[in-house]
């Protein structure tokens, strides 16, 4: 019976090569993970809730609908309430078009404002023009028209649960960018990380864009005057 030969430790160069291999594998894994981790923008990107016109789109803290039975309207100059009830309405002419979008908005948890903007096919965004400070029901008497004035513009309106607001939003957009517009809405004046962003396709194809451009009125009013109640 022969005696077993004693096991020699592996040569020094093999231990070194093994350690180097382990370090390289570890470094590669770290590099791969760093390359593939979500970016800052991806981690805090809004959660998009998609919808279409005529649908009630519920999101976290609010819901939006663009009624299918109320038409989109376009105009060349936007007329907003004047400083006083006797003053002429303020005129904001556009080199493009003013687009009026009907909306119904409701907050479902806490009182807040809903921010709205349009996004075109090239990713450019157009914010809704701000609501005037005129109080609802303010007397209006100008140009032979008299009554009480009510703003239809809902941009920046303070909302509370249980009180849905129906009205319109007004956007100034280039006349050649109507096709493929989407309306987007989020809660509050600024988006917080991973906020819900409601995205509604306005359903404007080439034919409808042409029709809107053709039907654009010279003046588009953000308010109505109800007479006989002064």
């Amino acid at each position: 019976m022969t005696e077993a030969a004693p096991r020699l430790p592996p040569p020094r160069w093999r231990r070194f090569a093994f350690s180097m291999m382990a370090v390289l594998l570890g470094a590669s894994a770290v590099f791969w993970l760093r390359r593939h981790e979500p970016s800052y923008v991806e981690r805090f990107a809004p959660i998009i809730v998609r919808g279409a016109t005529g649908q009630h789109v519920p999101a976290r803290g609010f819901s939006v609908a663009i009624p299918a039975d109320a038409p989109l309207e376009a105009g060349r100059t936007l007329l907003t309430p004047g400083i006083t009830g006797n003053a002429p309405p303020e005129r904001q002419p556009s080199t493009g078009l003013w687009l009026s979008v009907p909306v119904r908005i409701e907050v479902t948890r806490d009182p807040d404002r809903v921010t709205a903007f349009l996004r075109d096919r090239d990713g450019r965004e157009y914010t809704a023009t701000a609501k005037s400070s005129a109080e609802p029901g303010r007397p209006f008497d100008h140009g032979g028209e008299a009554g009480r004035m009510f703003e239809s513009n809902l941009a920046g309106l303070s909302l509370a649960p249980g009180f849905p607001a129906s009205g319109r939003l007004y956007f100034e957009v280039p006349a050649d960018q109507l096709e493929g517009l989407h309306a987007r809405f989020h809660l509050g004046p600024v988006m917080t990380p991973n906020d819900n962003l409601v995205d509604i396709d306005l359903g404007i194809d080439r034919g409808r864009a042409n029709a809107l451009r053709g039907a654009a009125t010279p003046e588009l009013r953000t308010f109505v005057v109800r007479g006989g109640v002064l």
Binding site: P9, R109, D110, E135, S158, A160, P161, G162
Partner: protein
């Protein structure tokens, strides 16, 4: 190379790595815990109906919440058809200190129902009416009341008429939040309504 020798040589390094790893986990964990405390549910300090609650250098008591008679509201008040005006009467006893007196004015009140919906006091729609009716916009001491005396703040709310007052609780917080040495982050009073839940 013996096993015992290996542990003796590598032990301090392994221990150091373990301490660093534990720190790498524990640091962010405690950071997140601190952030979480600001929004935690137990930041609410419950106050039973009719009792005094201590908060931000003052004592607070919800005296009553009443529904305003629709027929007594001004006709030119442009309110939604389903709206109802509620009036909360809040009794305030600030501590006779600068902190107590200066904190109370910036109270922010909300009525919250069982479904998590909330409504702020003195909303925009009621500001003009509130001024005419002599209601408060915040919890500031009325000018005619001497410093050091308790006083009553009457604050209006606008709620839909399908919310029964018995389903509501009043939340009281200072805005901006009081400093950490006055109240722990995020603390607020959660007051039961007289006869409510």
């Amino acid at each position: 190379m013996s096993v015992a020798g290996w542990w003796r040589r590598q032990g301090p390094w392994l221990l150091g790595a373990a301490v660093l790893a534990a720190g790498a986990v524990a640091g962010p964990y405690f950071d997140r815990q601190r952030e979480f405390r600001i929004h935690r549910a137990d930041a609410a300090r419950a106050v039973p109906a009719g009792a005094w609650g201590r908060y931000a250098g003052a004592e607070w008591r919800l005296h009553s919440v009443t529904v305003q008679d629709q027929t007594l509201l001004p006709r030119d008040l442009q309110l939604p058809d389903n709206a109802r005006v509620l009036l909360a009467e809040l009794e305030i006893r600030p501590d006779p200190t600068t902190t107590g007196e200066s904190n109370v004015a910036r109270c922010a009140l909300r009525l919250r129902d069982g479904r998590g919906r909330s409504w702020r006091s003195a909303p925009e729609a009621l500001v003009a009416y509130g001024r005419r009716a002599g209601f408060a916009l915040d919890c500031e001491r009325p000018r005619e009341r001497p410093v050091g005396q308790p006083y009553m703040a009457r604050l209006p709310f606008l709620l839909p008429d399908d919310v029964p007052p018995a389903a509501l609780r009043l939340e009281l917080q200072l805005f901006p939040l009081p400093p950490e040495d006055v109240e722990p982050p995020g603390t607020y009073l959660d007051m039961a309504l007289p006869g409510g839940r």
